[in-house]
Amino acid sequence: MANMQMTKTPMPEQDPQVRNHNFLEVAQGYTPEQAVNEAQRCIHCKNPACVTGCPVGIPIPDFLAKVAEKDFAGAYEILSNANALPAISGRVCPQENQCEGKCVRGVKGEPVAIGRVERFVADWAAEQGLANVATAPKNGHKVAVIGSGPAGLTCAGELARMGYSVTVFEAFHTAGGVLTYGIPEFRLPKAIVAREVDNLVKMGVDIELNMVIGKILTIPEIFERGYEAVFIASGAGLPMFMKIPGEGLVGVYSANEYLTRINLMKAYKEGAETPILHNKKVAVVGGGNVAMDAARCAKRMGAEVHIVYRRSEAELPARAEEVHHAKEEGIIFDLLTNPVSIEGDEKGHVQSMTCIRMELGEPDASGRRRPVPVEGSEFKVDVDAVIMALGTSPNPMSTKGTEGLEKTRKGCVAADESGKTSLEGVFAGGDAATGAATVILAMGAGKHAAKSIDEYIKSKQ
């Protein structure tokens, strides 16, 4: 008989007024008892909807059943066979739109906290020193992966498991892509990313750092080196700006830059070599996960922080949990508000931002109600930094020197659902193909691409 508790078993968290001064992880994870209790809430539907909501197709009721029986090792085996990076997805997936969004228990009451149990199982396995790094015997085929973010790591892991020799080319000095430079320590500790990368290395994946593909080697040159397929997972590219006056002032950051300084270069630490401005009042423009991450970092750096978003709360694209956590930590939400200009002092430093009130009109192409400016409602707020979190445009670098590779209208690498591009042997997935999306969608793309790469190489024999 399932546990019919209506709400999710709460997960211990750092107190908001404590954690908004440190970079330690916010959510502290279930105890074994809490995990078992939550797993027992699964009623094991005949046709589990949760699985259809999972981009990597984890057999969710099966691993929950093992947890419910306290067979954590069994749960880990099921989970890690389907998902190469469970400790990561358990932390950063927007479960409310995926597995948990489809959970029948959510119709009356709250869905099963699948993400929290997933995280528990992954962390438990790591504590026990368990790592699912078994691979098939080497099959003698070489595959190159460009980028070591969630898409690249997942694809590399899947292929290594099948027996391929995989080389991952990473442009930065540390592997992990957005997991390392983008998502903050308090949401995804970098030790966990390093652990997942280590597991891939144990599976025989070769990770080459400081390799900017398109510059040091082109994709055709990678093929010349004996690789039979290339997976482009180079992520999203340059940050977008609003094209309003004042964006060149000192104190205007893109979220990518602000987060990279903090997460990759550790600028928040005393004595760090990489600098960052210590601001008093910061406006973060945008309403996605990246905006929440930047806002919560700025708060931890000691600033009063406002999220400035042109639509209303219902349209915020961020994960519900991130919005909730941000509010708890004292981030102020200025909704239905849009910047018009940024003003500077005589030295060219940000001094204030002029905004205009917005109201929601008819739905636009995205299906969300279009924000319309309220005439004459401009007002000025004093701020000393503005962080633009408006999304990114595709990075053209990795595909330089690759003739005949088709791009989409927006400049992404054109790839079908299986990751195939217009060039034989070249596959693409994650943000490089879709534009900015989520970690789990990138992981799903990596998994699908690994399958098609395997089929492609086998078909040539």
Partner: protein, 282 residues
């Protein structure tokens, strides 16, 4: 040789040194105008340096000991390895088919002007290279520069060697004497490039500048190196580092490059303290 090993190190002046780093893949690809990003150690900052030459598996860069990272870099000697070395980044300088060009190098900028002048010269252009320094004692690369151009003019601010005055003064003198330039390249401190552009604008000579904004990843991700060119946002790492000097908003770049000046001064003081009191006078 090991990856990223400093194979050769040469002290050019008390403030400026040159290192050649073992990086065969980068050396095979690098072209004039491109840059690398390096980290001295595992905790270090990423700093961009323009490639001075690329041959025999070695990338040569020239640096001035201006901040904590370049001071730390200077502690390394032949046989030591850098932690990270990434490149070649940025777009190469366009060198074909100009005709007669002037290349202006200011101080350390001469280290960058040199490969650009050389590439322009090898591409068949007639190249006047104008190198400016504060004073005679810190003139660097004179011999190398003389081989890389048609005419070399050295200028010193204090008149202790060559032309007395700034590179812009020499350029104006040459133009007034009747030399017709099809294109000017200005490479050096922001102020020097700004004034070079003001001058060439007056004479209507197209001018390319090599921009060196603050940069982190250098691969088109962070957007830190953005600048305004002709009213549009451009990124030095992807679109540059070369830009049409007449379109660049120099005042904005000058302000942005000073963003961390206080922090940098503090880090430099800390670093010099760690090195010991003697270095403070060095």
């Amino acid at each position: 040789m090991k990856q990223y090993e400093i194979v050769k190190k040469k002290v050019l002046t008390p403030e400026i040194s040159q290192i050649s780093v073992y990086a065969p893949l980068i050396a095979a690809k690098a072209k004039a105008g491109q840059f690398i990003i390096l980290r001295v150690d595992g905790e270090g900052e990423r700093i961009p340096l323009t490639i001075s030459s690329a041959e025999n598996d070695l990338i040569t860069v020239i640096y001035q000991k201006v901040g904590a990272t370049t001071l730390a870099l200077d502690q390394l000697n032949e046989g030591d390895c850098l932690h990270d070395f990434v490149g070649p980044l940025g777009e190469p300088t366009h060198v074909d088919g100009y005709g007669r060009v002037a290349v202006l190098g200011g101080g350390l900028g001469c280290a960058i002007a040199l490969p650009v002048a050389k590439a322009l010269h090898e591409a068949g252009n007639q190249v006047d290279l104008i190198g400016g320094f504060k004073t005679k004692d810190i003139v660097i690369l004179e011999e190398e520069m003389s081989k890389a151009c048609t005419n070399l003019y050295i200028c010193t601010d204090d008149g202790s060697y060559g032309f007395s005055g700034f590179v812009t003064g020499k350029l104006e003198e040459l133009i007034n004497s009747g030399v017709k330039y099809d294109h000017v390249f200005a490479i050096g401190p922001l102020m020097m490039m700004k004034f070079a552009c003001k001058l060439t604008e007056k004479f209507n000579i197209p001018t390319t500048v090599s921009m060196n904004p603050i940069m982190i990843d250098g691969t088109g991700m962070c957007g830190g190196c953005r600048l305004t060119v002709g009213g549009e946002v451009k990124f030095a790492c992807v679109d540059g580092p070369d830009f049409d000097g007449h379109q660049v908003d120099f005042d904005e770049v000058i302000a942005r490059n000073a963003t961390y000046r206080e922090f940098e001064a503090e880090r430099k003081r800390d670093h010099l303290c760690r090195l010991g009191g003697g270095a403070l006078n060095g």
